[in-house]
Structures are given as C-alpha cells and as structure tokens.
Symmetry: C3
Subunit: 428 residues, 3 copies
C-alpha cells in the first residue's frame, strides 16, 4: 500500500517530474530496429516518457530521434520526407539531420538554418532495438548490454506490445512470480490453448515463498515452492532498475521437448497512462541451437498471426474485454483469455489507467513488489540529491535467470548462484 502522494510520485514520468528525472538516467528502448528497416524509410512516431518524438534512419543508416514537431511552425515531422541525410518537413521544407540540426530551409531567400536545432536524443542500436538516452549528457551510463543483446540474431527474438495502463502496474505484474501458476494455469493437461499445465512443477508446487536479495542493479529473487515431500521448485528472476525483468522461460513443448531459454520484458513508459512492453527471449550456452521460426511467432504469448494491430495494440484489448470466453474459462484455462501475455495485460489494464495503490492489501507473496517500490522511491531521492541510482552501472551485464527442481535439503542459493551470471568462458 502506498499513500496517494507516493502513488502519484511513482507513476508520473513526464519532463520535470521526480520519477521522470529518475527514468531519464537510464537507457530507454525507443522502438524496434525493424520499424526502421532501411535507410530513408518512412519516419515513425515515438511516445516516450510523456514526450512526442519522431525516429528516422537516414541515408547513411544513422538513427535520428528528435522532437515530433518542426521547430518552424509545429507541423508533425511524421509527415516528413526522409531523404538525403535528413528529415524534411513537408510544409516549408525545413530539414533536420540525425542530430536535430536544421540544415535547409526551402522557403527562405536567405536561410538561417544554422541557428535552428531541434531537441534530439542520442541512440544506440543493440539487440534489435533502438535505445535512447534522454537525461543529462554528463550522466550518460554505459550501453545497455545484456547477454541477449550480444547473442546473434539467430538466437534471439524481440517484439513489443502497447499496454494501455501505467508502466508501474505492468512492471509489478511482471516481477510477481506468485500469479503465474494461477492466472496462466491451464485447467487440463491436454488443452491446445496456451497455459501452464497442472502437471508442471510450477502448478503442482505449493504457494511460493519469496526470497529477495537486493543488489547494486536492483534485486535477484526466487519463488521457492515446496514440491511433494522432498523437493523444491525454485524459479529465479532479476529485477534491473527501473523497468527490466529477466526470467527463465521454456519454448517448444508441443510434440517436442521443452527447451530452457531466458526471457524478459522492459515496461517502458509512453506516458502516464500507457506503456510499451518489449518482449525478448534467447537461447543461451555454447551448444544452443538457433531459434526456430515457430519460436519467433510467440503464439503462446498471444502475439500470433493477426493478434497485433499495426500500432502494436492488441486485438484482444480492454474495449472488447480481451475477448474473454466464459466457456473456455470453465473448462480449459483459468482466465478464459487467450495468450499468456494477453492475460497479464488484461488483469493489469482492468485495474484502470493508474491503479489506486492506497486501497490495496498486500501480503508476504507481494514481497518483490514491495521491495521494488522502495528501491524506486529511494532512487528518486538519490537522484534529487545529486547521486547515481542503481542499475546505471554495468553490473547487470550477463545476468541469467534459471529455474530448477532441487532436493529440499539443498541450499538453492549455493546451487543456483553460479548459474545466475553468464560465465564468459561458457557464453558463445
């Protein structure tokens, strides 16, 4: 439970807000690389931290990420012409390069373009994403490297989905292992619908005890589930400040064996009432095979053919009650909603655009959420006092998330600890 003031503090991310200032200390995924597939392709609108931007890939492949609205008279540069190393406004032909510098003014007999510069943010392209840094230049952190961003394209996949609620309630769903075997449960082992089968340790295990180890990047935590008399099912996660989750994942499993992957999300604020969820997964280790085409379809997540609209909104969304099927809910899946991630979005969006955390009732199973909020509140204060928040230093490079069934007497930290970090010698 938060006070209304704390709730507002953590959920408002526009320029000048305390949380907005904290957010701007980190690299942000701005869009998918494949949204700008080639030089001089059409520009793309980007909503990020309450700002309206436009992204383009220029003739030489450089990425520009600048204010959406032309410095001259405010026309949207989304309408612009991406040509000859710059984005040109169609109204009067003012043209900007990837750094936002005005380089041409077709309407002026004596141009003064050298005096005009748009707000532009630096970008890097890593792991199939275009990232940007919107904070003070002197505070720019090292590039956002994860094991997956360094994996070859063949072994990883990244996608994105618009979620119609505040970023924090989306994040809180993601760093909450306790809901997974409930919300995502299949009611039978043989349904064709996506869901965690009753036979899986995730569901067979008892309710999880959460163990949270804070770190210099955020925390590592585990859901520890007693399994029968003498086993534990341990599933570890990382929370990297401010909006990253890393989790164990499995792919395949339909007439095939399950293969362990690692997956995760970024919940990136578009504005206070919308976030863009980036979804990634990869296959790791020296002998890891490449992803199959089917692995990239993300069918069980709910992003299969036809499920995503052109603007990355879900076809199953709050306007149509996520197409909940009450008969399916009775007999096949716990939620009656198709798609694992669509189920997550449905519950989070159903709370309203910004959930009122002054009315909630948290328990021990919400420990990861409670700690994340505290870390965020502390980090806001740290930044206000001139310090650097957790998660900007590169200590999170190489994190892995692992799940395993262990004998009950084993110390899971000792057993799994070494596997939670990519060992350079073992990495590809």
């Amino acid at each position: 439970m938060l006070s209304r003031e704390e709730n507002a503090l953590l959920t408002q991310v526009g320029p000048g807000t305390p949380m907005g200032e904290l957010m701007r200390r980190y690299w942000q995924p701005a869009l998918l690389s494949r949204e700008l597939p080639e030089p001089d392709c059409p520009p793309v609108r980007v909503r990020l931290l309450g700002e309206r931007l436009v992204a383009f890939r220029d003739t030489q492949g450089r990425i520009g990420l600048i204010d959406e609205f032309c410095a001259h008279r405010g026309v949207s540069l989304f309408l612009g012409r991406n040509e000859d190393c710059g984005l040109r406004c169609v109204f009067h032909g003012w043209k900007y390069d990837a750094e936002g510098q005005c380089v041409d003014q077709m309407n002026e007999p004596v141009p003064f373009s050298s005096k005009v510069k748009m707000q532009a943010y630096p970008t890097v392209e890593l792991g199939g994403l275009i990232w940007t840094y919107m904070g003070p230049p002197a505070k720019r952190p090292p590039e956002p490297q994860f094991e997956w961003t360094q994996a070859p394209d063949s072994h990883r996949y990244v996608s994105k989905t618009w979620e119609e609620c505040n970023w924090l309630q989306a994040l809180e769903g993601g760093i909450d292992t306790s809901h997974a075997p409930i919300l995502h449960r299949a009611l039978t082992n043989n349904t064709a619908r996506a869901g965690i089968a009753p036979a899986a340790p995730f569901v067979r295990g008892k309710a999880a005890t959460l163990e949270v180890d804070t770190t210099d990047y955020g925390y590592m935590y585990a859901g520890v589930r007693p399994l029968g008399e003498d086993q534990l099912y341990v599933r570890t996660y990382h929370y990297v400040m401010p909006f990253t989750q890393i989790r164990p994942a499995q792919v395949g499993g339909h007439g095939d064996e399950w293969r362990p992957h690692i997956a995760g999300h970024f919940w990136v604020p578009m504005d206070d009432e919308n976030c863009m969820v980036y979804n990634w997964h990869y296959n790791y280790g020296l002998d890891a095979p490449p992803l199959t085409e089917e692995d990239r379809v993300e069918r069980s997540a709910g992003r299969g053919p036809g499920e995503q609209l052109a603007d990355f909104r879900k076809r199953r969304n709050r306007d149509n009650d996520w197409l909940i099927d009450r008969q399916v809910q009775k007999t096949e899946t716990f939620s009656g909603i198709d798609g694992i991630h669509t189920q997550d979005h449905a519950v989070q969006e159903s709370m309203g655009p910004i959930v009122d955390r002054s009315r909630e009732h948290l328990g021990p199973a919400d420990k990861a959420i409670i700690v994340a909020r505290r870390l965020l509140l502390d980090a806001v204060r740290t930044v206000q006092e001139g310090g650097d928040p957790p998660g900007v230093a590169p200590s999170y490079y190489g994190l892995r998330a692992i799940e395993q069934v262990l004998p009950r007497e084993v110390d899971w930290r000792a057993e799994l600890g070494p596997q939670l970090y990519c060992q350079p010698a073992l990495a590809r």
Copy 2:
C-alpha cells in the same frame, strides 16, 4: 428553473454528495434477474450511483454485489471465476463470497483471508429484478414491493435500457404527461408505426391541466383534458420518491382490442451522466389474462428485435441522431423517430448529459416537475438533518394508475380514487 447550485445538487449522486446520500436511503434496481441466469454464471459489471460494482450468483443461488476491484491489487473481478460459492480473482486467486468476505488466497503460503473483506451491498430479488440497498444499515427500508413485483411472472415483464444522460432529466420526461400526445403522436390513424393515434382521447383532448396531490410517498397526479363539450379524459400517475413512475398503459390494439395494463419506469443513476431505465408492465385484476409473447417484445416502445445492443444501449442513439427519418416526420409520426421510449430518450439525451436548468422556462404544464424537484430538495435537507425521506415507508405498496373518460361534471378524484390503490380482495 433552478439555480446552478440547485441543479448541481439534484444531479450529482456519487458517494458523499447530498443527493447521493438521499439516493442511498432507497432500494435500487441493480440489474435484471435474467442477467444472472443460473448459479455460477459469469459475473456482470454494475454501475450504480457513481460506484463500480460486480454482481454474481453463487453456486447456491445467492447474489453477491461487491466492489468491482479486488481488494488485493485492484484487478477487475468482472474477469473473475464464479465457482464453489464465491467469485475468484484470476490474478492471484483471491476469492470472495456473496457477502464480500475473502475466503481464499491461492498465492499466500499462510493465507490471511479472514482479515480481508470487500465492500458488499445487500440484495433482494423481487419482480425479476435484483435490488440493492447502499445506505446506512440501520436505515434500511422495507423491501420494495409493488403490485407488479407480486404478480406472477406470467403477468408481468421487465426490461432495461441505458439512457445516456443524467437521471433527473430522464425522470422529468417520465413524470410529464403533457408531452405524451405531442412527442408520441402519430400523424394519421393508419400508420403502422408506433404512436398515439389522432383519434385517441389522449390526442383529441385539449392541453392538460395538471393536478398534483402530494402524498407520503411522493405524489399522485392527473392530467385532466377537456374532451369535446361534455367529457374529461383523466389520466393518473404516481411519482414514488425518488425515481419511480407508475402510469396507465394499454397493450395490443393491432387488429385486437386495447387492454388496460399498468406500467412504469425506474430511472436509476449509473453515474452523473448516465442512467439505467427499468421498464415494467403487468396485467392486473382477478381475471387478468397472462401477457402474450408479443406483449413482451415491447415493439412499440422501441425495444423490438435488434433494437437493443448487448450492453443495453440503444441501436438508435445520440451518435446516429436516433436514426430520425425526416420523411416519416413529415407524414407519419410527430418525431420521425421509431419507438415510443426511443422518442423519450432522444429528446432527453438531446439536452446534453446534464441539462442546464437555469436557462429553462417552465409553465403550469410543468407542475409535476416543479413539485418533484421541490420534494427532492426538501428530502435532501431532511436526510441531512437526520430524518427519513418520503418513499421509504411502505405506503406506496399497491399503487395503481388508471385512465378514464368521464362526464365533465363528475368529480374525478371521487370517481377514480378507489381504483388508484390495489384492493387486496380484488388482487390476484
């Protein structure tokens, strides 16, 4: 005419508002019984007096009407599983019984559900409706009994329609007999469209004089219309505080004789800009035949096949100008809009979400409206001072509304008075 302050006072019904406090002293129709057709059927969202609730019928048939949002983390229980005597949130499996008591928490190793209780409102099921009481428990009035709620299912019918404006302007249309032979007029006696024929006494009569007798439940009033030289057409109504109308009605009449029924509405506030209109009618008296299937279709009201959307909104609504047909308006009906009640909604919705009563010009024909407002304003004050408002005591049980053509010299009160109350010996 009201001041802007009075207008705001009467139209705002949320928790803590003066009118909201008055409203909460009465039983409210919350939904139709048939919206919850059987035990463990899907839950239904209910918007009532500015509150967002969810209704369900549990395994044993008990009705629960509780906060829409789970006490744990705020997920909508509309997505919930109605099973094993409770409604279970799909996020973490918290489960609530019909009294709002939390009875299970799937995510917690050591549940603390006995400490968690949701807001829940008591309900009764009467006359095909589920009613609720949202006020102080000590002030709960007797059950809302009308003659029709006690009639057998075979002799009554109830439906509902979403009206997209404040409850008060909808009510004011309903307790206003003077508009009926104007707005609802057919221009010829032989159109197939619903409308009051020019030959009917309602239309043939001169403009009505309104006579309003205040009572302990609200008022009885009559529209008295001179008919030719020596007759009066007298049509009586009851207004039961705060939102009930009882009126004479006729069914049949297409190749059949008209049969007198009694009908009425409740205009129940959903929020300040929407109300749910409940429509009921029944056949009364010892020898009354059951309703026919056609009586239940409510074709002439405008609720025939295809006319209502799944959320009880009208197919003919403000977004499409109620599909007004200007040719029909020239030649067949006064309004050019199909459906008697759709005509009512059209004029009321056309005023905007909350009509500005500081700009109106009322006359003697608006007497019923003027008195109703005064009763409501008085009742707000009565409740603020700790008293009980009119219409909570059971004096309205057994009211009937009658219309009749009388010789002009007759005292209509003496003639019709005894018929305005159900005589137990004559009732079925």
Copy 3:
C-alpha cells in the same frame, strides 16, 4: 513567436472572450445555402464561435438561425418540425419563428408564448452562403459583398470542409504563400495527381520575398520570386480581417489550357478546436465563360467524389494520417497526400488542436503571418476600447488577386495595382 497569453488570446473565440468579441463584429458564414435547399426542409445544426445553433428555412423561405436548445426544457431543436412558418420542438410543441419568437405552446391550456423569445441572429443570403451577424446590433456592418458574391451562380462555386484545429493555424496556412510550391509540389511534370508541376513558375522561381502593404481592410501582399535571370513571378493575395483570404487561382489544365480564376477561403471558428473552411472560386471579367461541371467537382483540391463525409469532415483525416502514401511521397508528390487542400489541412491538423506559438521559429518568409497577428491583436484592443476594427467597412468590396510573370526591372505594384480591384466598368 507569441507568448502563451497572446496565443490564448488569439485562439479563444467563445462568448465573452476578447477575440470572440472582435469576431462578433464581422459577418460570419454560417452554412451553405444548399444545406437548406427548400422551404420547410429539415433544420441543420450550426456550431459557430463556440455557440450551438440551429438553422432552418421556413415556409416562406426566411432563414432562422437560433439557439439549438428549446427555451422551455432544453431539447435540441435539430429534432424539430419545420412547418407552417416556424420550427416546432417535438417535445411539447413549442414553436419559434425565424426571429426566435415563440408563437405556439401545444402543451399549455393558456399559452404564454408571447413572453418567450430565443436568441436569434440576423442572416443574409449572398453568394450561395447564409451569413450571420452575432455582435451588437448597433455595430452591424454592411453586408459582406465580394466580387464573387455578386457573380451569377453560373460563374462561381462555393463549398465547405471541416478542419479539425483552431481557426488561426488554418488561416495562417492560407495567408502563407511560401509553403505552396513546397507542400503542394508535384515531383514530376506528368503525374496524374494534383500538384504544382516543377515546370510552373511557382516552383521554378526562387524562394519568395514577401511584401506586405497594410490597408484599411487588412493587407495586400505579394510573394515575389526571382525567375531565371531577368524575370519575376509575382503572386498577390489579400487578407481581409479577420479570416478571409483572396488568391489567384487556375482551373483546367488537364488537356486544356489553364484559365485564371480568383479563389479564396474563409476560416470560420466553430469552437476553439475546430473551424469550418469555406472554399470559393469564380471566373471574372466581361467575357468570362461559366464554370464547367468539372470546375465544380474540386477534384484537385481533394473534395472529389467520396472525399467528403456527410458532416463535411474529410475522408482523409487525422485519424487515418490523411492516408499518406509513402511510395507516392517518394516518387510523385512532395507530401504523399492526395488533394491540395487536404495537404493544407494535414499539416495544420498535425500541429495539434491549438498549436503552441511560444515554441516556433519564424523568419522573413513568415512576414504575412506576423503582420496578421499584429493586426488581430491591435483590433482586439481597438474593440475593447470601443472602436471599430479594420475590415468592417466596405473597402474590401471588389478586391481581386492576380499573379503574373514580369520583367525584373518592372515595378510590380505599378503594373499589377490597377488589376487588384474590380473596375465597375469591366465587371460583369
């Protein structure tokens, strides 16, 4: 660049605002004559300067323009019956004549209609438009006569289009000659799409120098473009306060020779976030032939068959990114958007409902805009101090706009000056 306060001052036009008071000193186009095609035809809603009105043509052809909402109880008179020399509310049959006088009250035994009068605005019908004056009666200016309003129907055409942004940014686009050969450019001389061909002097000329001569009605200005070594392409415009543009135009040109016409727009505020653009053009001079049917289709403007919705909204609008075609933008037209005026609307609407002029960067090419704003700000003050603003006196009658290629050494004012005003002897 304006301060935020000045920006608010110029863009807010509701009753009682300073700019609203200035606007109300001028005749306003309220609707097209053909929207009320005959006596007793259906009434039409009119949104004008933030007011909601309804227009009707009565049995004798008189135009009524009155408050949309009945004085009795606030029902929209759009639903009304236009019959027997008045507009009758369908709720209780109150009826109003073209002056807004209530003349009947069907619901009242003893009518008091003579005491009820609606707000009504005087109208004139000129040039295929119905104009109204909403200001103080004593300040009513002479009728709005242009050469085109006096031309026969055969030689002129007028249409209208809803533009979804504030009136001022729409006007500013219109009085800005510098964008035309950029935004409206065709990339090749032989595309079938509407656009200014690269071979045209408009495009071949260098960036224009703007020369603005203020007048007692607003200003005349010219875009003067060096053309090759020894010519000037001079294109003149008039800005008539507060929202009128007059410009040279050409029609034909597809397998036909271009014929000089004169055209223009009014950008009339509907409310602060919407304006109605009236588009007119005519053929002038003693021997001018009538307009062809094709001239009236306005295909190149973007108002061809199917392009306008029933409410005058564009089929290509901000909800669908004006159906921008990126392939066309690469190879055929500068904008990739079909229709010259649709291109204008696209850039203006893309700025948002009210552009923030405190963030813009104007240059010498924006001189016409800068002067217009100053004239408007001055006129607001003039009216506040009790004076009469420019453009109400009939000095703008007979203005013409001309474009011509001249030898560079010629004094264009001396050469074109006489052609900028209709000479009565030469006019038809």
